[in-house]
Symmetry: C2
């Protein structure tokens, strides 16, 4: 019998989950839940109902894993604990500062409902977290480096859009090539925030807005931009939508560490991703962990987990024998 | 209390294990066992005994994990099943064709002794295997690529040394740069053996040996060289030992896969290693998995495991809370 997947929230992540399920032989989509009017939501899969979220609790016996496809700022802090009581759930919570609290809330709910939850699943947090953990265990004496981009940062784009006079904006995070090279060469550089990434913003102004004022406001914005070298381009709405709608992203994780009696040998572990679609890759990771959530739930291993707690074999459709013969 | 580690076999791997233990806070070396005369073996750690392997069974209560540092060809097929009955063990068995049989032998022995064994631990098999498993689970529709080098291949060097007239030899495996680039660019190339790697051999001849004959014999050797473009250099013994004693190695694993309703988005996962010391990195991986073996044994999870079966958190000295706050 296939693992029955439900989706809550049909945006980029929800659609990505739907596509990822089609690449498996052991999973099926059984329902999509939305806060919008279901009549207005059209999905790719035939014969799967789109339902108002108010009906979701009628499905507790008909869904093995519920994929929570909301945002980390407002949706997931509420939704994941709320639904972990009734379903095995996966989320992609990525607000790093609040992970402890989120974990505790979800763990309590999942244990109350005897369900399995896996939080913060995606590429970062997610695959990058795994690489950091593995490579720190292997090379305890060394340094970690993470670079993101080139790719669109939703949070930084939103921050620019909140400035009065800005009609729309996209912001790209870009790793500094010389910093990447220095890490790759085993130079163990100590890098400031400014030395690691640059930022590039494409902004559509409202009528009568002063580009000089807006540019200064962006560049001086604390936390988001003041620690970076930022380039600001003003363009029209049509150009923004034509040239800046790609969901491509990329990133790099390094561990550079030494071994030997005198720490005389250097080693570099590099993991990188080059993604045409950030949400589709993220949901590929989520669906693999959904397979694990079902298996853990079947074994009675309930409560909240993260990627660190999951044996890799549980992510794979292949049997243990197939894994050993094909991938070992 | 620290995890008590024993080492069987004090060559490059044994010394690497000894160094790796020094980088941890939760492990200690308690004994080294050797088939040589212990008087002739000098180790780095003070106050740790070097003992004949004949005494090893006196240590079953004094060692938590025994690190098997022999070779895959002759030592490990015998040693790992033999000692898995009495100790939790880690090996780096890498004869891919015989993994199933080795797994079955070790599993039976470990279960009989109520011990935990983890086999085929290192970088390939080991970390590369993990990346293949994770990335296939995430991108089921795609292709895998593994490249090794530039680095010394022990097996290929041995094969050359067996040719009559050859006094000594070293053989380097080298990835073809244009093949790497094609994979990295998402071109999904179909690559023959010859298109992926070249081979470079440095050979010391015995007196009166004919270099033309030896060169031809190397280049035509089935399995080892006939499918590759091989360059052969003849040098003297002193140059060989001066210029070709490095244990550096490197390697790359890629998954190039597509997602989306029409498979219109391509994604590239790349994992690479650049190692100054192949054995020291390998033993760094082995010591991390020794930590997991001890923890699994304490939980009563006995029998034979591979890297696919181990939750990453068990490899780490850090607590689950620290992992979530530092690495997630």
């Amino acid at each position: 019998m296939k693992t029955r997947i439900g989706i809550l929230g049909y945006g980029n992540l929800g659609r990505g989950i739907e596509c990822a399920i089609r690449e498996t032989n052991d999973m099926e989509l059984v329902a999509v839940f939305t806060r919008r009017n279901p009549q207005t939501v059209s999905i790719l899969t035939e014969d799967v109902p789109v339902l108002p979220v108010s009906e979701i609790l009628d499905w507790t016996d008909k869904i093995d894993v519920l994929m929570l496809c909301g945002g980390s700022a407002k949706d997931l802090p509420v939704q994941t604990p709320q639904y972990a009581k009734y379903f095995n759930v996966i989320d992609s919570f990525d607000t790093h500062a609040n992970v402890s609290q989120h974990f505790a809330n979800v763990d309590a709910a999942a244990k109350e409902g005897n369900k399995t939850a896996i939080i913060s699943v995606g590429w970062d947090p997610g695959m990058f977290s795994l690489i950091r953990a593995y490579s720190n265990a292997i090379l305890p004496n060394g340094s970690d480096y993470t670079f993101w981009g080139k790719g669109l940062s939703q949070g930084h784009s939103d921050a620019i859009r909140r400035i009065p006079g800005v009609a729309d904006a996209r912001q790209y995070t870009i790793p500094v090539p010389s910093a990447l090279e220095s890490v790759r060469n085993g130079e163990h550089p100590v890098l400031t925030t400014r030395q690691k990434h640059t930022r590039e913003a494409f902004v559509v102004l409202e009528e009568n807005a002063d580009p000089k004022v807006i540019e200064t406001e962006i560049k001086l914005m604390p936390n988001y931009f003041s620690d970076y070298d930022t380039t600001v381009h003003f363009i029209d709405a049509e150009t923004l939508s034509r040239e800046h709608s790609s969901m491509a992203h990329a990133g790099f994780v390094f561990r550079s560490g030494t071994t030997g009696p005198e720490h005389e040998h250097n080693h570099i572990i590099e993991f990188s991703l080059k993604l045409d679609s950030n949400p589709e890759f993220t949901t590929g990771v989520m669906i693999a962990f959904a397979r694990a959530a079902k298996r853990l739930a079947d074994m009675g291993q309930t409560g909240c987990k993260t990627v660190f707690d999951i044996p890799p074999a549980l992510l794979c459709e292949q049997s243990p024998e197939e894994l050993r013969s094909h991938f070992l």
